[in-house]
Symmetry: C2
Amino acid sequence: MEVSIIAIGDELLIGQVTDTNSGWIARHLNPLGWSVKSVRVIGDDSEEIFRAIDAAFAQTDIVLTTGGLGPTKDDITKPTLCRYFGGELIHSPEVEQNVLEVLEKRNLKINTLTAAQAMVPSSCRVIQNRVGTAPIMWFEKNGKVLVSMPGVPFETEQMMEREVIPQLLKRFASDEHIEHRTFVVIDYMESRLAMTLDEFERQIPDYIHLAYLPKPGVIRLRLTGKHRDAATLCAEMDRLSAMLKEILGSSIVACEDKTLAAIAGDMLRERGLTLATAESCTGGNVAHAITAIAGSSNYFSGSVVAYSNAVKHEVLAVKKEVLAEHGAVSEPTVKAMCEGVSYLMNTDCAIATSGIAGPGGGTPEKPVGTVWTAVKCGDHVECECYHLPGTRDRVIDRATNNVLCHLIKMLRQCDLK
Amino acid sequence: MEVSIIAIGDELLIGQVTDTNSGWIARHLNPLGWSVKSVRVIGDDSEEIFRAIDAAFAQTDIVLTTGGLGPTKDDITKPTLCRYFGGELIHSPEVEQNVLEVLEKRNLKINTLTAAQAMVPSSCRVIQNRVGTAPIMWFEKNGKVLVSMPGVPFETEQMMEREVIPQLLKRFASDEHIEHRTFVVIDYMESRLAMTLDEFERQIPDYIHLAYLPKPGVIRLRLTGKHRDAATLCAEMDRLSAMLKEILGSSIVACEDKTLAAIAGDMLRERGLTLATAESCTGGNVAHAITAIAGSSNYFSGSVVAYSNAVKHEVLAVKKEVLAEHGAVSEPTVKAMCEGVSYLMNTDCAIATSGIAGPGGGTPEKPVGTVWTAVKCGDHVECECYHLPGTRDRVIDRATNNVLCHLIKMLRQCDLK
């Protein structure tokens, strides 16, 4: 099935809020064999909403809308949906009861604006929003379906998973099988990977598609196949997966869709190893990436964000002479930081970063983007120096990914535990 | 002027990449009095691209496209642009020279795929992409303009700022003045703020618009005015701003668009104070938010991410009895962490967090979402306990914002320095 998405909200068109709902919806519909045909982002404007629904239904039988609801904007989307699907706004005691329950959980009281959320078009079927106050509304017209959901990502995600996706699957059942295989690849830039896989791509049958999904320092390859016969599909996906592993060898660091922090985390957990980080230029971003993984407390002891030289010396025991002679952004300093945090937190492995993220702080010898990193596994420490392009955010992200890649490679080679 | 945006790329429709370009473009065009009328996100599909351009030109005279270019997808967007605007693909020696220079800076060699980027439609004017290999292409037809830009955010942002925005402003000059005033408000939820400002909103003239821009724990209010007479506009904006300050008082923590970390950072810098953080459940996210601000090294000494109890005890000197008696997620522990990191890093102020971000680790007494935070200014320490709803990410984000709000409030009240 194909789906159109309409994201509604002035806040999206002025760039204050980024529409992350559409990506989330796509990521959760794709594994079911459904695809998103297009996304339209429009403002809180009745005519625009009406036209967008019309245009979307011209393309697909299912339209999902997010946003345009909520206490301060209920006066536009709901009347427009009434105009499109017929009926009138009526008071729903069930929705009001749900609003009261949700607000009570948050220790809040109902007011005239939140109470107005209980008004819904008579032409829709309400799906109660258990995690927020704006009701989810399901409309049908000429065999086509529109589901209106709130703009708050947490609410849309929760309610899509619990109610909307199961109900859509029931309403639009299919007998086609779908399979995905994802491979996380390091060491390649996109164009070189495409050239390496040129011959391989010619062997992919029509019912299987290969997608390149690049992020800084890492590329995900995804095979997606659709076929009526599950066994045929599975056998072909197995054959292609084996070929990819043969061609790319150790550059494949995972055969499922995981972040670098999750890949490293799984390797640490499986071997009973512990990790600490000492961060200067990445300012806690490596620790944040690692601790974003649930269960990371099993292998991650902690981090010292050593922004000042005083902290590098006093907490991480980097010698004053090393800092004076080589500077904070240098191989000896980053190596000492790595050993220092590993000793301090008594861990098997450690990561350290020190660099100039910019925009200030660069010198002719060490321009903005110069980053030294170190990785320790057991007694073995390796350092790298990178010259990373781009803005402060980008330098921090690239340095974080690069040092996690390095940790993964060293964990594969070392024989600790 | 009104602008339509078309974001092209299969990776956007499968949710692998989030379209952040459109938001960036909107944020940078709005202050110039330009607005984004709609955003269309479509796949790498020639018919879709053609239709989207047609539909966009029906709405606005300016269309900006991002993506659909680059070594592995050059075969779709460029021929479609040729079909729409006429002409044929020709080899551009200038673009090839630029590709060579960009690749050389990255220590990469040209290959057949990157070389193909030098082919451009004869109907466009090329703007050299100084930070990437995909050329920017400017098309004109019947007085309307389409600018095709790469999908890589860094490249689009750099080239929009340096070339595309200045050239668009020159091409579509206007004599209307525009002014923005942004206020960062804490202590309010959106519906209560809307009710508080009900009377105020009635007094806003037609040529000025008030927008509510909520994020977890903080709401930005933005007044945007457009008028031919700059003095009239400025006087009215001043009057409304004064009214807002009168109504909201100390709940306004900044009169410009800044993050909480930037607001706290400016307060610290102005008073010559230093800060450290001790983080358990936020796992480095507070440090990451603070160090995302350029120049934060002037007031931020560093952080200890104390994920394990051993680190809390050994590095932050939290007494073993405190951990044993009250647990890691408790007022005595978070207070001791805060004092510990402040002593360790010799800072005036400190922040500490300890909580259960989930999904595991909850108990009946301390369910998932329980977070203790502490803020220290000089000798004064205050603690708070929150029960935060939602996923792991959301708990971490909310806890980060809450503790930064608390720091801002304490900095306003305390008389350090």
